[in-house]
């Protein structure tokens, strides 16, 4: 069973909740799909049994010993990445999308491509199973592809070790890394918080998830920060026929656990929030579609 934890809005508590789920019972495979901001390794300090480079894409560069400054590439580039700078053709690394068209049409063969290969994927063991995570190198792109690689690795590790549950800690938003996280999972848990922004982003992510026909659960985190917005979210979920798996209270122990490099369950399994997380996880695991 593959369960993805996502949210439209960042900072709703995805990683802390994923960490809790990963330490509640039997051994699991935990995959950190938030490759822009992978954080779970901080809590679980997994061993590095495997490390692999990941090619995120390419960037064009000019060989000035061959370039005649004809400017043909400027006309072809649709990303406005090439322009004349101080009478020389120049490629902006930020704007370049890596499509390679300039390199193909250059009559002097003066444009080459450099591979971005500084991003990494890691696999190893942590105290409650196996862990897989990707880290995107600073400034590199295409996190959706890296998410796919992380998920494939997680499935392979699960199979090799006879582990049934894969927990995916997803990235925020609705774009390509999120779509890569959702494609083909069995269940998705959407974490939201009782703010106007939280509700608005919940609506957007639900619209996305509905395209995939996956079983959805909602968790309202820090529900007691604003009870009236919490009620509004519950009502909205009822209308949309989406089960609210549970509400979690605001609890400073979440940060305390993080500082101590533990999940909230490991910090103290008897806290109200820990007991609730246990209940929510059982509900998510056992509820048939």
């Amino acid at each position: 069973m593959e369960v993805a934890i996502v949210s439209g809005k960042g900072g709703t508590g995805k990683s802390s909740i994923s960490a809790a789920f990963a330490t509640l019972n039997g051994k699991v495979v935990l995959a950190d799909c938030d490759v822009d901001a992978a954080n779970l390794y901080l809590l679980f300090n997994p061993s590095h049994e495997e490390e692999k480079a990941f090619i995120t894409g390419e960037k064009a560069f000019i060989d000035y010993s061959l370039c005649t400054n004809c400017g043909l590439c400027i006309d072809y580039c649709r990303f406005n990445a090439i322009s004349f700078k101080e009478e020389m053709v120049s490629i902006s690394e930020i704007a370049c999308d890596g499509c390679r068209l300039c390199s193909r049409i250059c009559p002097e063969n003066a444009i080459g491509m450099i591979r971005n290969d500084k991003s990494k994927i890691y696999a190893g063991t942590f105290r409650n199973g196996k862990m897989v995570y990707g880290r995107l190198a600073p400034g590199e792109e295409n996190s959706g592809k890296l998410v796919n690689v992380v998920r494939e690795k997680a499935k392979q590790v699960a199979k090799e070790n006879g582990l049934e549950t894969i927990i995916l800690d997803g990235p925020p938003g609705t774009g390509c890394p999120v779509i890569s996280t959702l494609t083909g999972v069995d269940k998705v848990v959407i974490v939201t918080e009782p703010t106007i922004s939280g509700l608005h982003d919940l609506e957007r992510i639900v619209e996305l998830v509905k395209k995939f026909n996956i079983q959805i659960f909602v968790i309202i985190n820090k529900y007691d920060l604003n009870l009236s917005v919490t009620r509004e979210i519950e009502k909205w979920c009822l209308v949309k026929k989406i089960p609210v798996a549970g509400c979690l209270p605001y609890d400073e122990n979440i940060i305390k656990a993080m500082v101590n490099r533990k999940s909230i369950i490991e910090l103290n399994p008897e806290l109200e929030i820990s007991l609730k997380l246990n209940m929510i996880w059982n509900r998510i695991k056992n509820q048939e579609k």
Binding site: S7, G8, K9, G10, G11, T12, S15, V35, D36, A37, N39, L42, L43, E58, Y76, R78, I94, A95, D97, G98, C99, R100, L101, R104, I105, L136, P138, G139, E140, E141, N142, S143, G144, P171, P172, G173, T174, G175, C176, V178, I179, E193, P194, T195, I196, S197, G198, H200, D201, R204, L208, K211, L225, N226, V229, E252, I255, M258, V259, R261
Partner: protein, 292 residues
């Protein structure tokens, strides 16, 4: 004009909170300011202000359309496509465009020698222009659900910045990859918002590394000061990164935010201090026409 991006590697550190409050204090201090919500996957800034929608602009991208009457299944378009967006099985005479993977670069059209490829626009999202007190002041980039990359919508939004604006605040999407780079890349200064926790620190380091490769000026605002530990502060000191401001953790601030209110409107000391922080940046790094 000076463009200041508000960003963070980690989501939910308070980017939108800082962006909307800075924008509010700039307006209050009579700056001709604009707020651009570049978080196209989850735009939330506009709701904090009384605005009037002035214009909606559709953002599109071109994708190839294959005319199978002319196609010889030679496979050159597939070879030219660097995004694997053209699927081809020559023996079966099957060719298909996977629109979700297409970046609209036009390489396939250049590749085709048989005039079998034309292009059509598909919608990626919208740029919404809003006025506040009669002036174009807020721009929202909003990506359609199901679209892969917010970058084209962000690029389109930035193009509508009013030349008359003195200070432009860009509310950046979270993360350190393409959408963030697009937003930070167009700015003169980046304010990174973080929180004093291990996750906050780890993501801050990632953001700093990215901004260093982009060669950008930046400083840090610590939000929810008082929670967590001191590691973020030690890191800032050690790396010589300016700590611009600390926003204390207060439940009242979180409550105001949760109902879509600007905290600076109700908390004059926060408003004053935030304004002083931004004015310092403007005086130090702004161009002549953004200074007073």
């Amino acid at each position: 004009m000076m463009k200041i991006a508000i960003a963070s590697g980690k989501g939910g550190t308070g980017k939108t909170f800082v962006a909307t409050n800075i924008f509010y204090t700039l307006l209050k201090n009579n700056y001709r300011a604009m707020l651009i919500d570049c978080d196209a996957e989850a735009p939330n800034s506009i709701a904090f202000f009384e605005t009037k929608l002035v214009k909606e602009i559709e953002v599109t991208q071109l994708v190839p359309v294959i005319n199978t009457d002319n196609c010889t299944y030679c496979g050159k378009c597939h070879e030219y496509c660097n995004y694997n967006a053209i699927f081809i099985l020559p023996p079966m005479k099957i060719i298909q465009v996977i629109e979700d993977l297409c970046h609209g670069c036009g390489a396939c059209r250049v590749a085709c020698n048989f005039e079998a490829i034309s292009e059509k626009p598909v919608s990626l999202g919208k740029v919404n222009l809003y006025s506040n007190n009669g002036k174009l002041s807020l721009i929202e980039a909003k990506m359609n659900i199901g679209v892969m990359s917010p970058v084209p919508v962000i690029k389109a939004a930035v193009k509508h910045i009013d030349n008359q604006a003195e200070i432009v605040i860009l509310d950046s999407p979270p993360g350190t990859s393409c959408p963030f780079i697009q937003t930070a890349g167009t700015s003169d200064y980046v304010i990174l918002v973080t929180e004093p926790t291990p996750f906050g620190l780890s993501d801050l380091k990632q953001s700093v590394a990215t901004l260093r490769t982009l060669n950008k000026l930046y400083g840090v605002i610590v939000n929810r000061a008082g929670v967590g530990n001191r590691d973020v502060y030690d890191y800032l000191k050690q790396e010589n990164i300016p700590l611009l401001f600390e926003i204390p953790f207060k439940k009242e601030i979180a409550e105001l935010y949760s109902v879509g209110k600007i905290a600076s409107e109700h908390d004059s000391s926060l408003s004053k201090q935030l304004f002083a922080t931004v004015e310092n940046i403007i005086l130090k790094y702004g161009s002549s026409n953004s200074k007073r």
